[in-house]
Subunit: 328 residues, 2 copies
């Protein structure tokens, strides 16, 4: 067994570089110099950038397969880029890990990073790795993307009368987390566990909704539907009416005994896209989302806050915990 | 006293955002959305990107002023961008800190980040902050910059006969580190301590050396002159002859009793630029470096490795420790 304390920094970097896919034609100078140089944006495009931390015992545990941790560390960032209506182009990865960490663990992490980057034609443009004396593994990923200014979708563009839409299905990742808490193996192929451990960013849908000028506002569901809808409504200075009977639920979550409605409303980490469209654009939006699917779950109103409406028209009181906060 | 455990994630982010300078005109969508969108590169330019981790008890200690930690976390990255011959444009900052960390500490860290970014017209384009259960503070900064393809200076362009040059003075930061180890206050205004705690990236010099087509290869001195020269020589597949009598030394280091030559050859974190030029370009290079100054310390040869030559022409054996490695 080789640990980070046994291997030099440069030999480690060489071993990790060897596991990454070949750089795309966009990259003029790749990993191994002071910095990388690449064509991120085409003429007329802006660069989209974001950073997200994953920390052990908050976002994953020692039992989570390293490959899945690597994939998820990239996925959450690609999801943020997609939620801007942009296409992801590159990532940079910084890892702080205890010196007792096995090199093989870091290699598996990089295999995961390499696999998801290949799937989305994303270059790994840089990295850093530090051995720390105490604490768990921390992974900071920066994602870079590009979009024309007109394609960008902020959280602030929702207008009264817009339809509120969401891709895919809600609550699955939270249901998976509960399964793991109850003893399910994080490596199992249970579909709910997979959505928690290895989420799929809605890259193609986000880009199509932006480039097509379809979404008027957009955010990804990372903290839970109600929490993220709250961010979108605050930024747009509007309210929303959500029909709880229309929340999209997967067959897997419906076959479980969990509190499905609570999970769909407040469960984090689904990484679906929550967006608004003009009433006439529903067919276009459906086409943009393709096989991922989309559901109209409500509409934007002038009344601040979110009204949850039951199928019989009565209001549902909001659940007590609106979403996830790292310092809760 | 308020700690990270006492404050919500979003209130913290709001407090930190309030301490940052106003975004430049380049920024179309700033902090507060899923990602930022900005004009990083002008038409015809490439995007330069790098990431560097600073970890507590490796790169700073609990005694280091938070403001200086913030400044240094940015400085080391701006130095990498400068070493490509590029101009820095934006940074993204991710911080993992124990939940017991005082919010005031994080605010001072951000004050430092804000101050150095203002000095260099660099936007803070994104951030993330996580409270962790154990371990020290980890800061991962990604820097973005831009340069025309012809202005980019990799490590690989040194040719036999090129002059080897370095900006500023060498060994000061390592001398400062030794002073701190011997009890000097990291907040003192001793010039050697300041170079260790609050290094100044050679942003203007790097950019001018790149844009002027002057440097043929370049790297910043972060691991120590010999270590970083080794990286440059390996990448360029050449050797070098260094005249140890010509190493630039500050008045401050000369007034100390340290082993000056060892510090100048192997001391890390000076963040000077080490670069090569064609023999005819010395005057141009001197003009590009301006007040920071530059010194020709040797030349590129076809003999692999570094020959250290004393003023009398005899060879100096290489020092035992060529530089700094995080996993040493």
């Amino acid at each position: 067994v080789t640990t980070l304390a046994d291997i030099g920094e440069f030999p480690l970097i060489e071993r990790l570089r060897g596991r990454l896919p070949r750089a795309s034609a966009r990259v003029a100078i790749g990993i191994g110099d002071d910095a990388a140089a690449s064509e991120i944006a085409k003429p007329g495009e802006l660069v989209v950038s974001c950073v997200d931390l994953l920390t052990q015992d908050v976002d994953f545990t020692a039992a989570t397969p390293a490959r899945a941790v690597g994939r998820k560390s990239i996925a959450v960032n690609l999801s943020d880029v997609a939620a801007m209506g942009a296409r992801p182009v590159g990532v940079l990865v910084a890892i702080a890990a205890p010196k007792t960490t096995q090199v093989e663990w870091v290699e598996s992490l990089y295999d995961g990073i390499a696999s998801i980057c290949s799937e989305h034609d994303v270059d790994v443009l840089g990295g850093d790795c530090s051995g720390v004396a105490a604490g768990g593994v921390t992974i900071a990923v920066t994602a870079l993307g590009a979009a024309r200014r007109e394609a960008l979708v902020s959280r602030a563009g929702a207008r009264v009368g817009d339809r509120l839409c969401v891709t895919g299905t809600l609550g699955d990742a939270a249901a998976g987390l509960e399964k793991i808490a109850r003893g399910a193996d994080p490596a199992s192929d249970d579909p709910l566990v997979r959505r928690q451990v290895d989420p799929i960013p809605r890259v193609a849908a986000g880009r199509a909704l932006g480039e097509g000028g379809i979404a008027t506002a957009m955010i990804d569901v990372s903290d839970g539907l109600l929490a993220d809808l709250g961010h979108l409504l605050d930024a747009s200075r509007v309210g929303a009416r959500v029909e709880v009977g229309k929340l999209p639920l997967s067959p897997a979550i419906q076959s479980n005994r969990f509190e499905i409605r609570r999970l769909a409303l407040t469960g984090g980490e689904d990484f679906e896209l929550l967006f608004t469209i003009r009433p006439d654009d529903e067919a276009k939006a459906r086409a943009a989302c393709g096989d991922v699917g989309m559901t109209v779950i409500g509409e934007i109103t002038s009344t601040p806050g979110t009204a949850l409406v039951r199928p019989d028209g009565t209001l549902l009181p909001p659940p007590p915990r609106p979403g996830w906060s790292h310092f809760g």
